[in-house]
Amino acid sequence: MKEVLINAERCLGCRSCEIACAVAHSDSKNLLGAVGETDIPIKRIFVHQAGKRNIALSCRHCEEAPCIDACIAGAMHRTADGLVDNTGGTGECSGCWMCVMVCPYGVIRSEIDRRLALKCDRKCMDESAEPACVRACPTRALKFVVVDEFSRDRRQRFLDAIGNESV
């Protein structure tokens, strides 16, 4: 299963992922249409500065997801694909914000008018089967890969560096 993984050192903080996420969750699905919509599309990824680093945070779709455990409405659930989602569950989100309170990353937000908890739902994939945030990232700081592929790349980069040093 592929995950959105981050090369934090490559993040320039341009917020392109944020814009793409919001656009992907808009009615018109395009930037110019989205900026004109009455219900402003809401992003589910957040670029922050932590010291000198830029970090893009979004739902990690945790294996042991505290938000699912905390949901008393039965809305937050794990899909057949292994994703954590707040729609299409056995019950409907009542906007009690229990999930917001227990998420350690603070990546669940609200659509306050509809009392809905919102989060990364991956309903942003196009024919390339990559999430919108990953497609938008100009430095490829965001990657949509299986975890072991990511770690293999990391390993290779480390080995290359060591190799260059010893030359």
């Binding site: 490559r10 993040c11 320039l12 903080g13 341009c14 917020r15 670029v47 922050h48 500065q49 830029n54 100009p138 430095t139 490829r140």
Partner: protein
């Protein structure tokens, strides 16, 4: 809070802004973070509609824009456009001043008599305009005409280029960067940076230099020289600075922006007995005119008007609750002012047809009817005094005296009529060198910290500091513009200051008045028969933020003076461009830029540079 400023009045007013629920520049900066890395590196291009394009700085993605421009081209084009914008701003300011001189000479601007006839005649002589037996008006008419022609001249070079040492002129000619016309260079820069024109970063940067030189030895110099003719050449004057200059019992008017055309006449209008009577009828003890930013510098050096602060204090002045009107013209005026003012009683009055502010009241300033317009504006402030809410008023007590007004003429007078005593002091080493410290504030850096740390380090090492703009106001607020500050200077500089009764930091005016610093540099080089680049000089913009500063830095370097930038320019996306500016230019124009965010380390760069230049001149 203390990470935002070293100025106590700023810290107090940021606190008040917070409790009053006011958003300031620091809040907006926080909301902008993280700022876009492409922009910071200068590798985004919006010059055509095949874009916007950006280059992946890690080499993993796009290495060329849609048109084929690489990072070198894009960074250089963006830099040249910033220079063009900065040069245009100074030069259009200059055009405003010469237009006023023309109107005055034609008899259409009766409120602007010529204040400095000697300077008028000296300038006329430079332009080979006959002065003997002619009326001041006739001379002024000819001078204004010839200076206006500089903007579109076809003679091939600007008049003030003749002030530059011969070696430097020859160098500029050999590089083909002698400025040919003020408007022309800005226009050519915009042309060359259009899609598909000049794509060679070296060629682009040379044009950037020529454009900047059309500012430093053109537009800015014209603004300075003709302002002196119209409003008087500054001479040493004393006054007070910082937000503490606002008066609880008076009508407080802040003049903010750049052109003295407006501010000078308002200073006079506020002395009108009728308006003073109206102010008293409203219960005010008087009308307190204060300056801010470069307008503040223009009127403080000519009239000793109090200066309320520098760039980062414009919103905070409103937060005191004691400002009845802020009158603005052009440049460095935050669009947020009407928003901040809406939470208090302060009126924001815009006056330039070139600069309008949603939410402000606009009263177009007309040089042909200047005093009447000025009176009308002052009256609005007087009438607004009674709308002040005493419970919202809190004026920080912080204020400091200053001595300013060191025009080239004033420096010559202090030296007894000739530059020789200064040259001798440099030769003997009691003054090891001169550094121009100029430029803005930038909320990404602690306000005034870089300016003050840098300046203190220099004077301690017997380096005379000359300052303009918001840097000079920072020095004013901390007492460095007082003769008593000589006690902070090294032994050599201290003794020179004490014998002449001058401060170790000389306030030379507004940002266009960096042209005054260039005149001193050229004159000293001419006395010694060397190029400007041979002199123990440096320039610095420790907290710069504006495009004008980019133009200034470039004309200072192109004139042969090593220049240190305290905030990082958006050029690091191209190793070639960054390398040309910080090292390659040495072989081309005899000077380079350095970028150093730590002001103490920056001071060391300046000191070492001056030591090396002294050594090359055979001085100890």
């Amino acid at each position: 809070m203390s990470d935002k400023s070293v100025d106590q009045s700023t810290i107090k007013m940021i606190k008040k802004a917070k409790s009053d629920g006011i958003e300031t520049v620091w809040d907006r900066l926080a909301a902008q973070e993280p700022q876009c890395g492409f922009g910071q590196l200068g590798i985004c291009c919006r010059n055509c509609n095949m874009g916007p394009c950006r280059i992946d700085p890690f080499g993993d993605g796009a290495s060329h824009g849609v048109c084929g421009a690489n990072a070198d081209t894009i960074v250089a084009r963006n830099l040249v456009r910033a220079i063009a914008a900065g040069a245009a701003s100074h030069s259009d300011h200059g055009r405003g001043i010469v237009s006023t001189l023309l109107a005055s000479a034609q008899g259409h601007a009766p409120d602007y008599p010529i204040k400095d006839e000697a300077k008028l005649k000296a300038l006329a002589a430079e332009y080979s305009i006959a002065v003997e037996g002619r009326s001041v008006k006739d001379i002024a008419l000819d001078l204004a005409g010839q200076v206006l022609d500089e903007f579109g001249t076809r003679k091939g070079f600007l008049q003030f280029v003749n002030r530059v040492p011969e070696k430097r002129r020859a160098l500029w000619n050999s590089l083909d960067i002698t400025p040919r016309g003020i408007d022309r260079e800005v226009v050519e820069s915009m042309h060359r940076t259009h899609v598909g024109v000049d794509n060679d970063y070296v060629s682009l940067i040379l044009q950037g230099m020529r454009t900047a030189l059309s500012d430093g030895w053109g537009g800015s110099a014209i603004a300075t020289e003709l302002s002196d003719v119209l409003f008087g050449t500054p001479s040493p004057v004393k006054g007070t600075s910082n937000l503490g200059v606002l008066r609880e019992d008076q009508v407080n008017i802040i003049l903010h922006g750049h052109e003295p055309t407006l501010s000078d006449i308002i200073v006079h209008a506020a002395r009108d007995p009728e308006l003073l009577k109206e102010a008293r009828e409203k219960g005010a003890a008087g009308i307190n005119i204060c300056g801010m930013c470069c307008t503040g510098n223009e009127i403080l050096m000519r009239h000793g008007v109090p200066v309320a602060g520098n760039f980062l204090q414009q919103e905070l002045a409103i937060v005191t609750g004691a400002v009845d009107a802020i009158i603005v013209d052009i440049q460095c005026i935050m669009p947020s002012l009407p928003q901040v003012a809406s939470c208090y009683h302060t009126k924001i009055i815009s006056t330039s047809p070139k600069a309008k502010f949603p939410g402000a009241e606009h009263i177009s300033f007309d040089e042909h009817n200047a005093m009447n317009t000025a009176r009308k504006i002052v009256r609005l402030a007087v009438e607004n005094y009674s709308n002040r809410s005493p419970e919202k008023v809190s004026i920080p007590s912080d204020q400091m005296e200053y001595m300013a007004g060191f025009s080239v003429e004033a420096i010559l007078e202090a030296l007894g009529g000739s530059l020789n005593p200064l040259v001798d002091a440099i030769k003997s080493g009691s003054i090891r060198g001169i550094v121009g410290v100029v430029g803005c504030n930038n909320p990404k850096y602690k306000q005034d910290y870089s300016h003050l740390t840098f300046v203190r380090e220099l004077i301690k090492n017997d380096i005379l500091v000359v300052g303009t703009g918001c840097a000079a106001i920072a020095c004013a607020k901390s007492g460095l513009l007082l003769p008593a500050a000589a006690s902070e200077a090294g032994e050599g500089l201290r003794s020179v200051c004490r014998s002449l009764g001058i401060p170790p930091v000389l306030h030379m005016g507004s940002c266009v008045d960096i042209s005054r610093i260039m005149q001193v540099a050229a004159a000293v080089a001419n006395v010694l028969g060397v190029d400007i680049s041979d002199l123990p000089l440096a320039g610095a913009a420790p907290e710069w933020m504006s495009e004008k500063a980019v133009s200034i830095g470039t004309y200072v370097v192109s004139s042969g003076i090593f220049t240190i930038l305290g905030t990082i320019p958006p050029v690091l996306g191209s190793k070639n461009v960054a390398g040309l500016l910080t090292s390659g230019a040495e072989k081309v124009v005899g000077a380079v830029f350095a970028v150093e965010e730590d002001p103490a380390a920056a001071a060391l760069l300046a000191i070492n540079h001056i030591t090396a230049k002294r050594k090359a001149l055979g001085l100890g």
